[in-house]
């Protein structure tokens, strides 16, 4: 595998190279790290990552397909990363979000990648951020990141994405009640999809009750009928206005800094998992309290070497 060749082809927008690069990262291959190091930073900086979350059946994939169509009409290249959960029993997964996006399958300006969570909690997979960066570097001006969320687990997508939209549909009123304390406050935009269906009025009232400030309601709640494409133009206009405001005010840079910190922490913990497991097994302690043992292992592994390194620095200078 020639990494330089693959990176060049990826930056030209070659579909197979984009796909191979994402696989290499997902599999933890050393080539994957080398590719990520060489990605076009400027393109990544310019791309907008939109997180799309919401309960199953709310119409996320249909809405994404409509957004893709309109983004293409605006002559923008688009990437989609659609994440579905892995089966906790077999580790396998059925990834079916493509079904609703197939009309864009032959458009070279649209890259779609389905990914499974592979045991990671929180609705994302650990390679999600990298997959998004690879798509951005390949020339996608907008990347949509679609995950299933029902009120608790979507904080991860909020942390990763530049702008998060929560998609709801009539019939999910009870979920709104349960969600009140979480996602409704942190999602940038709340979309009432299937707004032409019975129950939409009830959902509007529930949302209005959850968002007490009228200005907030005006700003953040939108309605769509994704199956017919209604409301999608307004949604995209709102998203791009928000992007402009976030970029101008420096808020986007703050969000991205936090996102990088979180992904780094997440990956560091992932890398520590195996060595820690090995140490715990080697110690084979039977009498020590697990919490105390954990503290001691981490102290020896991380904190003491860091102190030693600091001491060396001080003596050296």
């Amino acid at each position: 595998m020639n990494v330089d060749f693959l990176v060049q082809a990826l930056h030209r927008g070659d579909a197979r190279s984009v796909a191979r690069a994402i696989t290499l990262v997902e599999e933890g291959d050393a080539g994957g790290t080398a590719i990520l190091e060489q990605l076009d930073r400027e393109r990544i900086e310019q791309a907008l990552l939109i997180g799309v979350t919401g309960p199953p059946g709310a119409g996320k994939s249909t809405l994404c397909a409509q957004m893709i169509g309109q983004l293409r009409d605006r002559d923008l290249r688009v990437g989609i990363v659609a994440i579905d959960p892995s089966s906790p029993l077999s580790g396998g997964a059925i990834l079916g979000d493509r079904v609703r996006m197939m009309r864009h399958a032959l458009d070279p300006g649209v890259a779609v990648r389905s990914m499974a969570t592979r045991g990671r909690l929180g609705g994302l997979c650990s390679a999600a951020g990298a997959a998004v960066r690879i798509m951005a570097a390949s020339g996608c001006r907008v990347v949509l990141l679609e995950t299933v969320g029902v009120g608790q687990s979507e904080m991860d997508i909020v942390a990763l994405a530049d702008i998060t939209i929560m998609v709801l549909a009539p019939g999910f009123g009870d979920e709104i009640q349960a969600m009140k304390a979480g996602i409704l406050e942190v999602a940038d935009l709340l979309v009432i999809n299937k707004a032409d269906q019975p129950g939409a009025q009830r959902l509007r009232l529930d949302m209005a009750a959850a968002l007490r400030d009228p200005g907030d309601r005006q700003q953040r709640i939108l309605e769509t009928v994704a199956s017919e494409g209604r409301g999608v133009t307004e949604l995209l206009d709102r998203i791009f206005l928000l992007e402009e405001a976030l970029r101008d005010g420096g808020a986007l840079e703050r969000r991205r800094r936090r996102s990088r910190e979180l992904e780094t922490l997440d990956q560091a913990l992932e890398l520590l998992r195996e060595p820690l497991r090995q140490r715990i097994r080697d110690r084979n302690e039977k009498t020590r309290d697990p919490r105390e043992l954990a503290r001691e292992i981490v102290e020896r592994m991380v904190i003491m070497p860091a102190q030693a390194a600091r001491n060396d620095d001080e003596h050296g200078s």
Binding site: V18, L89, S90, G92, L95, G96, R98
Partner: protein, 138 residues
């Protein structure tokens, strides 16, 4: 843990009978595969493009309507056009025994008929993925 194999299950052509395809998709998931499902009534080029973008190690096709002699080889050709000539294609459905040699000649790696045990199908996908990824690593 075993490597996670990614496969695509698709239905080319106009045939809308997807019970078989969904059954295979679930069986593969339960055997630990990540299965990208494209739904019914896809063109061969759509299936090939999806297989490339998803970087799958194998493509499985289902046909119940008798169009397999035209559609299965057409997917192999579409994959080759899209730059995925190395991705193995497996096929199943209502396929008469006498069609099997011609399909294999046209580059279909394995053919399954209504009597094929599900374990045989899973093993064939596993073998196809293993061979494909082994070649890629070289």
């Amino acid at each position: 843990m075993d490597k996670r194999y990614r496969v695509l299950i698709g239905k080319p052509g106009l045939d809308g009978h997807d019970r078989g395809a969904k059954f295979i998709a679930r069986a593969l998931r339960d055997a630990g595969f990540e299965v990208i499902y494209t739904g019914i009534r896809r063109t061969v080029d759509e299936i090939a493009a999806a297989a490339i973008q998803e970087d799958v190690a194998a493509v499985g096709l289902s046909s119940m309507s008798g169009a397999h002699m035209r559609l299965f080889p057409a997917v192999v050709e579409a994959l080759a056009r899209a730059g995925g000539a190395d991705i193995p294609v497996l096929g199943g459905g209502i396929i008469p025994d006498e069609d099997i040699p011609a399909l294999k000649n046209a580059g279909i790696t394995a053919i399954f008929t209504p009597g094929t045990p599900i374990d045989t199908i899973i093993e064939a996908f596993r073998a196809a993925c293993r061979t494909h990824l082994g070649q890629q690593a070289r």
